[in-house]
């Protein structure tokens, strides 16, 4: 199992051809108190970069993009009732969705934890 990052502040945990996607601790801090999460429909096929989910704070709304090509296999329904979880445990319990990857070769285009840390430090 390995974890990847994107410069859109998403993390991707990969097990076989299944990826679990969420937003990073840095992202939740920038957003402020999250008040609403809109999840993608299960079964939806997305290409890398497509809008997958929406995360809203009081004064801002942001899209969460599909980090890789694939099909949505599950959304984290807990977040619909408890959006605050995104602030509390962004890189654990508050994952957004799981997807079945269509092309694992795309993983090479993502950042490692160290790369991401350097990226955030540069902001």
């Amino acid at each position: 199992m390995s974890t990847y990052f994107t410069n859109d502040h998403e993390w991707i945990q990969v097990e076989g051809d299944t990826a679990t996607v969420g937003i990073t601790d840095y992202a939740q801090a920038q957003l402020g108190d999250v008040v609403f999460v809109e999840l993608p429909e299960t079964g939806k096929t997305l290409a890398k970069g497509d809008e997958a989910a929406v995360v809203e704070s009081v004064k801002a709304a942001s899209e969460v993009y599909a980090p890789l090509d694939g099909e949505i296999i599950e959304g984290n329904e807990v977040l619909v009732d408890e959006p605050a979880k995104v602030n509390e445990e962004p890189e654990a319990g508050a994952w957004f969705f799981k997807m079945k990857l269509a092309n694992t070769a795309q993983l090479e285009e993502l950042m490692s934890a160290d790369d991401y840390k350097a990226f955030v430090d540069s902001l």
Partner: protein, 522 residues
């Protein structure tokens, strides 16, 4: 002597001031708490005198309401008290300076209210025979004439209900004009500094929005527009530009931008929200604008009413005039003629459809026309000059202490500061605004436009006297000095003296409670 022993001290001398005490009612003298009408009202009365109708057989078929209407009522004195108490929890132009940038919170003359309530205007039905409402059509036509003269345009669509609705109208006219040419274009260019309604409107009517970056000085670079036009050659339907822009600056190269747009076969939509700066100084039509909505509730002082109603007539260039929506008034040799459906059209008239039922915001038309007639051409020009003068007076009074993102140069009718001056003070734009509330001011527009950090957009309008501006400037200077000296306690918990302290917007958004519900027993 006879001595009146009922005499009592009339001066506070000797009485200790003491600390503020909690009161039994929660009221503080003139600051009064007011429960919801549902907690106070009577469930079994009607506060309007209505005679019980005599017995009759209803003709409702099987449609009679079976469900209860669980709404309480107040008698007349209770109604007065409820709403008067609520009103006292509101800030208002009539109570103080309301420098909400981009909103033009100017004085609302009461003559206009009086005239809008004349029975011949207020008690007039939009579909009563045209022959019985000739004065109404005359008024609409006269207002239209003023708007065309002030903007240097040849047509105006009167029916849009507010600014955003006017934008929609203008953009639909543009789409129709392109269709009439046999073209379907898919892109609308919108500068980053635009009002949020611009991209929302473009998207609403099916256009893809492409952002045009702002120049370092807050204005739009013709080259950036040219680049986008080239990148999307033949695809750009229109540019939507606010001018004067939301940074409070007149776009100096607006004519070049207009030419570029026209050369590309596209149309130039101007958001007229900031028209108050240039009435009688320049005419948008002369600048090459094809369509511009005019917020009558901003520039022409129809009351903002706690969020509306507005009115957003759209002036149109010669190129767009044929596509104005129904209804409209046609001038003929015999007089004015109402055109309200397609069967009445003559050659050349190709309306794109209809924006709303009926004729638009007549009540606002009366007010706006009364405002224009009162000012006259000379007064309108003076008003714009005073609005710009007042904004620059505020700018000059504050620019040494606060931070102008684009340098110390003249602004139009509003002045934009960013939050650089608050750096390392621990005070945010929001804190600063809330501290203004304690000083008796409505805060300026905050965090808009998005192109500068922690924006503070101040629009004093022409309605403020010099003394009023002096006090405002002095107050803001005092606040800035407090912030810079590290007196964060003045800001962090502010406001301290308003009817409410800061409200929990996060809780409101997470679990929305959008109506009153009866408390359940237990």
């Amino acid at each position: 002597m006879s001595m009146n022993t009922q005499g009592r001290p009339t001066a506070p001398a000797g009485a200790a001031l003491g600390e503020q005490r909690k009161t039994f009612t929660g009221n503080r003298a003139l600051d009064m708490e007011e429960p919801l009408l549902f907690e106070l009202g009577h469930w079994n009365i009607c506060g309007v005198d209505l005679d019980e109708p005599e017995e009759f057989s209803p003709r409702l078929g099987n449609h009679a309401r079976q469900s209860e209407i669980a709404l309480p009522a107040f008698t007349e004195p209770e109604t007065m008290r409820h709403y008067v108490r609520l009103s006292r929890m509101n800030y208002a132009i009539d109570a103080g300076l309301y420098p909400l940038g981009s909103c033009t919170m100017k004085h609302n003359p009461r003559l206009n209210e009086k005239l809008a309530r004349l029975a011949g205007f207020a008690d007039l039905h939009p579909l009563q025979p045209v022959s019985t409402a000739s004065g109404a059509y005359e008024l609409i036509d006269m207002l239209a004439e003023w708007l065309m003269q002030l903007t240097g345009t040849t047509a105006v669509a009167m029916s849009p209900k507010a600014g955003a609705h006017g934008e929609q109208c203008g953009m639909m006219a543009i789409k129709q004009a392109l269709l009439a040419r046999g073209e379907q274009r898919s892109i609308v260019l919108v500068p980053e500094s635009a009002h949020g309604t611009n991209p929302a409107t473009a998207a609403l009517i099916g256009y893809k929005v492409v952002a045009v970056p702002a120049r370092d000085d807050g204005t739009v670079d013709p080259q950036a527009v040219a680049d986008k036009l080239k990148e999307h050659e033949g695809e750009v339907a229109a540019l939507m530009l606010t001018n004067p822009n939301t940074c409070g600056l007149f776009e100096p190269q607006v004519v070049e931008i207009a030419n570029l747009i026209h050369e590309a076969g596209a149309y130039f939509y101007c958001d007229g929200a900031n028209f108050n700066a240039i009435v009688g100084k320049a005419r948008p039509g002369d600048l090459g604008i094809d369509a511009m909505h005019i917020n009558l509730h901003k520039t022409f002082s129809t009351p903002h009413g706690g969020g509306g109603p507005g009115s957003g007539p759209v002036v149109l260039s010669q190129r767009l005039a044929p596509f104005a929506p129904l209804p409209f008034i046609r001038r003929t040799d015999e007089g004015l003629e109402l055109v309200e459906n397609t069967s009445q059209l003559v050659e050349g008239e190709q309306p794109f459809g209809r924006m709303t039922a009926f004729h638009g915001q007549m009540g606002m038309f009366v007010r706006a026309l009364a405002y224009m007639l009162s000012h006259g051409s000379d007064g309108l020009q003076q008003a714009s000059e005073d609005a710009v003068l007042n904004a620059n007076y505020v700018r000059v009074g504050l620019q040494d202490l606060m931070s102008l993102p684009y340098g110390e140069k003249p602004c139009m009718h509003e002045v934009l500061f960013d939050d650089t001056f608050l750096k390392d003070t621990g005070v945010t734009t929001l804190d600063f605004a809330k501290a203004m509330i304690d000083e008796g001011y409505h805060p300026m527009t905050m965090y808009f436009p998005l192109v500068v950090h922690g924006a503070m957009l101040i629009e004093p309008t022409e309605s403020e006297s010099r003394a009023s501006l002096d006090l405002f400037v002095a107050t803001l200077r005092d606040l800035v000095i407090s912030a810079k000296e590290g007196d964060t306690s003045r800001f962090e918990g502010a406001p301290f003296h308003a009817p409410r302290r800061r409200l929990d917007e996060t809780a409101a958004a997470r679990k929305p409670l959008l109506k009153w519900t009866a408390p359940t027993a237990g």
